[in-house]
Subunit: 125 residues, 2 copies
Amino acid sequence: MADINAVAKQFTDFYYSTFDSGRANLQPLYREGSMLTWEGTPIMGAAAITEKLTGLPFERVVHKITTLDAQPSSPTMASMIVSVTGLLVVDDSPNPLQFSQVFQLIPEGQSYFVLNDIFRLNYGA
Amino acid sequence: MADINAVAKQFTDFYYSTFDSGRANLQPLYREGSMLTWEGTPIMGAAAITEKLTGLPFERVVHKITTLDAQPSSPTMASMIVSVTGLLVVDDSPNPLQFSQVFQLIPEGQSYFVLNDIFRLNYGA
């Protein structure tokens, strides 16, 4: 079995650097059956997900990962759940926002696609 | 298909009320192949997971759910990913801690068991 922590690290490095440099380029990671729940709003399919991501109301964004955990998600295939917490700096805001994001990655050929994606900002207590 | 948001709500209500009233009673939710990653530490199997949870260094704990999101996690069975963010109040601490927790629930008979469980505290920026 591939080291899922290494795969999770490689995936999230790619995902967030792509998000931060040109988020339209995330579309190849999703499929027609992929799901994104963004701040409680459910969206399905690569095209609609890309439209949602590119339409978010900020120009510049930087993700900083604080924690990264991964587990195999199926006894029968090399899929995995990846859970991320981190900080998000948008535009000229001096205050980073905390976020939580969960992915399920499904193997396809020599790579993976995103079946599940759940994103939430975490506001203070 | 059952309404997965209703199942997720019912599961998390049960999970956290059981955690807060007597966390040894969570053991029936896990199986031998279940995984918990607690603050980065991986643990496998219902018995070891229960031992970890009951050994946590606090007596009284109250979970308050802030956000709850669920998605189907498989095209072939009624499994689901449940993502929770919330606040944790332990013992006499006046300061709630933010947490993120992700579950994958697998159908079994008329109910579900927890295959995946990832827990993280979220410290401030």
